[in-house]
Amino acid sequence: MKYLSEFRSPEIVEALLKEIRETVKGNWNIMEVCGGQTHSLVKNGILNMLPPNIQMVHGPGCPVCVTPVNLIDKAVHLAVEHKVILCSYGDMIRVPGSGMSLLEAKSKGADVRILYSPLEAVNIAKENPDREVVFFAVGFETTAPANALSVIQAYQSGVKNYSILTSHVLVPPAIEAIMSDEECEVDAFLGAGHVCAIMGMSEYYPIVEKYKIPIVITGFEPVDLLEGILAAVKQLEKGEYKLENQYTRIVEAAGNTSAMNAIDQVFEVTNREWRGIGEIASSGYGVKDAYSAYDAMKKFEFDMAESHEDPTCMSGDIMKGKIKPNQCPNFGTKCTPVQPLGAPMVSSEGACAAYYYFNMAVEEVI
């Protein structure tokens, strides 16, 4: 398959690994920001192919994992109590809430539907004019344009029974939060390729300068990841810090302006709570007042009990890169994809799920 097979070539991978082995001298911790990158690293067995003095640290870039439990509870509340048609991306529906997950709500009769695109939810709203339809709009900058477009489309076509429950989060503030942590041992970042495809590169120059840390915007295939790691290692060995773009076939410096315009039209930057991490200032998107009729937070009453997370879940430390999933005492025992304590064990991008399903290290644990 063109644009895929050449980025999964064993020969190119071997050549890159050789160059990485020849280049690396020191011990480096490199954080891949995006959960998609974590899964590709583990699924392709790359973690076991890197020299031992390069440690990959898994970042917070799994939108499902960082969605606060309170918002899961709100989605369940809308589906169960308000009896809305609750539409969601697939991997949100197994995430445990305080009481139940959306999957459990569905089994109890709630109308929960799995979609690939919020635009489908607008169509469902058109087909069901007597029902309220809510799309659970989670994700980083990557999914924000489509979610914004759904609101714009609903507005333009006069659909009034559609709204979004939004939990958008942003990558640059998350990187800053990690770097500001005194215990942080991250030496370089692989930037999230698809986030930068939307937003471009400009937001990352100030971070590179402020923290004197290399950031390499990187793709998701094995060759992408190894090129990103090699570029980061080259900078680290030379004592340099700069912003580089490995993912040039997708990411342009200016980003995707029409996507950014859609975001600007519907969303504004707000403070956001991150599951396991806490509130980070200016770290997410909320719906602008002009579109408040499409904001489920304002459209519905949330008369519900206080949310609570399982206190034994260590997902915060895992997402900040302080521990690896298999260093958590509950990993594979009290916490499995069937009975998860937290979101990283069930999300398709969650680091715990990646280790549970694919990692050789699992052998020693379970």
Partner: protein, 345 residues
Amino acid sequence: MNLSCPLPKLDFDTINLGHGSGGTLTSQLLDAGVFKLLENELLNKKHDGAIFNLEGKVAMSTDTYVVSPIFFEGGNIGDLAINGTINDLAMCGAAAKYLTLGFVLEEGLKMTEFWEILLSIKAACEAAGVNIVTGDTKVVERGKGDRIFINTTGIGLVHPKANIDAENIKAGDKIILSGPLARHGITIMSHRQGLQFESTISSDTRPLNKIVLALLDEFGEKIHFLRDPTRGGLATVLNEIAAGSKLGIDITQKNMSVEEEVAGACEMLGLDPMYVANEGLFVAVVDPAVAAAVLCRLNEWEHGEMASIIGEMTTDHSRQVIMKSLIGGRRVVNMLPGEQLPRIC
């Protein structure tokens, strides 16, 4: 569709509750439809059950089909229900002989749709050389079913040379996959609400009894185990084989074939083809001495061009499936807790 078998003249163009009442409407539906179309000596007696002799070791299997959509590229719920039970028997080393056929119909199912399903049941039975010998038809109120559910139970004679048992699997045995992965599951998913993409992918539903029996004729007890990777896909079956044999499995990703268009759909939907359902594939665990010859026979089969040896049994990492990835890394292949879910980005 077989145009030589037009829909018989019935008083209704949809199924109604009366068709399951056991009264006149039931008789009309069955006489004009099921009995006429699927006729054979045993079914023609229209008795409460079928009475027959069978000599030798017998295998039996049952399965219920609730697939949605009921019509899809490459087949429908009818031939799926026949092929599925024939294949389950084939995986026991048995030649399916007699099948039962149970319908749960939802009020409102179009008679033309029911007829099309019956025609494909007839075609599937003929292709595999099996007879429906007894059955049952129930109708549930609108909203209490999903148009049509089918149960088939099959009985078959075990091949005299067959000895299919997970306990026969030994370290060093080769694992052979009979064709490309994920066609049925991707066909079904491309139909479901919201997943609108154009494709020419069709289900791989087909009977496996003839090829399996031909292999047993030639290789007998050297074929240690057979399993068809339907729900849960190849990854689930390999984990079951590892657990059942108490051995480990090493597989190589580059030896597993996935057709280009199916691979593209999997990429787009964020699904791993190893976990996607198949309906016309099997995994054979065979003595290494005959592996090359078994593969050769499979490659000669009309659906076996892409068959390949994907791995082997090992005493290392007991009960675990380890895959060498395309780029040469190694990772565990685990079971999933439920269906694969579409991901966010």
